[in-house]
């Protein structure tokens, strides 16, 4: 049964990837823009999913890291530097700032930690808005070029979408590997029982800082894709509401599930578009849908699936036990 399940999953995975490559070929410019945005936001949400979903540390600052990455990309590429250099700067910068932002998490938890990270989010926004010499303030930075990837220009929407999709692929593989490594296990230990983790020799301090730093660095990666996607940035998209959006993506998709951010970002980015036919009501409908979902399943959409699979497993196991027992009883 598990073998067929595995094949089913592989086939499903290949089908989804193929669809993500083939179907958008005849999308219009706007459709590709939305889909690229999904890929970018998924990367940012994956970072937050590591910090919050796996390691259990709440952060309301992920949007700020997307902003830092976006500004790094915008400033550097408009000066003629390659995007890859901006990516390196964004990763190092966000990793370092994320590490520092992790220190409060060693002292405070839950909503107190949320407030600390919220304050950082506000601080970052003020820097984006007020430090004109660096960020051009409210006028923003325009004409952000799109990169050449291995000799291919990504100026047109479809190649740029493939660039985002490819980046998402690379980040996904890295994340998959990270959460399967002993680090991933230590992050989960941090979330589930930090006191016990400490007594098992796990340096909870270092892992907490790592969870923040890596999660933030992924926010930076998303930012370096966001800038060339929109080709114009100003401080507004990186205010607190982006952090809240990303938090919602993680929670709605399923916090602590690998595919949670993919689903959450899809809902947050695509659903408002699909609901557009309802005109003025779409945001309300969207809000109600999110509320209903979280009441029904606080662990998000993948939480529903997980519960269903767990129940089925239990049923199968108890059926097998019953069969074994009846065999035992009827044995001569």
């Amino acid at each position: 049964m598990t073998a067929t399940g595995k094949y089913l999953r592989i086939v499903l995975g290949i089908a989804v990837i193929a669809a993500l490559i083939v179907v958008p070929m005849n999308f219009n410019r706007y459709g590709l823009y939305i889909l690229s945005q999904w890929a970018v936001m998924t990367i940012a949400a994956m970072g937050l999913n590591l910090t919050l979903g796996y390691a259990g540390q709440i952060s309301l600052a992920q949007g700020a890291f997307v902003g830092i990455g976006a500004y790094a990309a915008a400033i550097m590429t408009t000066q003629g530097m390659p995007l890859i250099a901006a990516l390196a700067v964004a990763i190092v910068l966000c990793f370092a700032i994320g590490w520092i932002l992790g220190y409060p998490a060693l002292r405070v938890q839950h909503h107190y930690l949320a407030f600390v990270t919220l304050a950082f989010s506000t601080l970052a926004f003020l820097v984006f808005r007020n430090e004109d010499w660096l960020t051009k303030g409210i006028y923003g930075i325009s004409n952000i070029p799109r990169p050449n990837v291995m000799g291919f220009a990504t100026n047109r929407p479809l190649p740029f979408y493939y660039f985002c999709l490819g980046s998402l692929g690379i980040v996904s593989l890295a994340m998959w590997w990270l959460i399967r490594s002993p680090w991933g296990r230590a992050f989960v230990a941090l979330r589930e029982n930090p006191v016990r983790a400490l007594s098992l020799g796990i340096d909870t301090r270092r892992y907490t800082l790592m969870a923040f730093a890596i999660g933030s660095a992924l926010g930076g990666v998303a930012g370096t894709l966001y800038a060339p996607l929109t080709q114009y940035i100003d401080p507004v998209p990186f205010n607190l509401s982006l952090s809240l959006d990303l938090l919602m993506m993680v929670i709605v998709g399923g916090s602590g599930f690998f595919f949670g951010p993919f689903l959450g970002a899809m809902i947050a980015v695509l659903l408002p578009e699909w609901l557009r036919f309802t005109q003025g009501y779409y945001l309300m409908l969207y809000a109600v849908a999110v509320m209903l979902l979280l009441i029904y399943s606080p662990t998000g959409i993948l939480g529903i699936l997980d519960r269903y699979l767990a129940e089925r497993r239990t049923k199968v196991a108890s059926a097998l036990r019953a069969v074994a027992k009846s065999r035992l009883e009827t044995a001569p």
Binding site: L178, P182, W183, V195, S199, G201, D203
Partner: protein, 247 residues
Amino acid sequence: MTAVLEVSNIKKSFGGIKAVDGVSFDVQEGEILGLIGPNGCGKSTLFNCILGQLAPTDGEVKVDGKVVTGLRPSELNRLGVSRTFQLLQVFPKLSVRENLILAGQEHQGNMMSRLFGPSDAGLTAVADQMIGFFKLDHLATEAAGGLSYGQQKLLDAAMAFMGGPRLVLLDEPAGGVNLTMLGDLKERLAAINREKRATFVVIEHNMEFVMSLCTRVMVMAEGKLLAMGTPAEVRANPAVIEAYLGH
């Protein structure tokens, strides 16, 4: 014989309450020391002070002759001092095997080798051996949260042994465990003590368990050391009977 653990004059106050009030004792290598006393007499607080979970108000703890007071629990653990908790402390979402791998993974290599090394940190075989030893074979891939209370208690104990500790402090290992499993647990602990020369300090209310497992028993009352001796001596001590065993 060398003292694995030397505790001298440990004190811990919470506000005006002296939870532990000047306790000193040594534990020799290979010994199983029982620690008994009425509820609230400071046993668990003493454990927490020894293990760095609480900072003692006063006093000193030495492991293998080295002062360890002020070390973090994780550092102490990597020096070979392990523990179990009074209340269940397994990681419910991880499988039994994952719980055990987690319990051992920080005892080898460094952060980088753990990141770039194999995902099981090379511990699957060791974990499975431990699973077999604690008779949890059929449960290896089950989520720990789905196990019965007694099974989780066994897993909890097994986790304490993953890093190959020299000294293990067990806080009520028998609490809530049924009789059959209790026998298993006792036999397992005794075997590890014999074969690995692991030293134990055991807090326990189950007298039969303490008296049959331990080589020496220490009795605490109101934060102080009341008596110390072989199980037979302690059982016969009038002060102990008065404070604890009499009712």
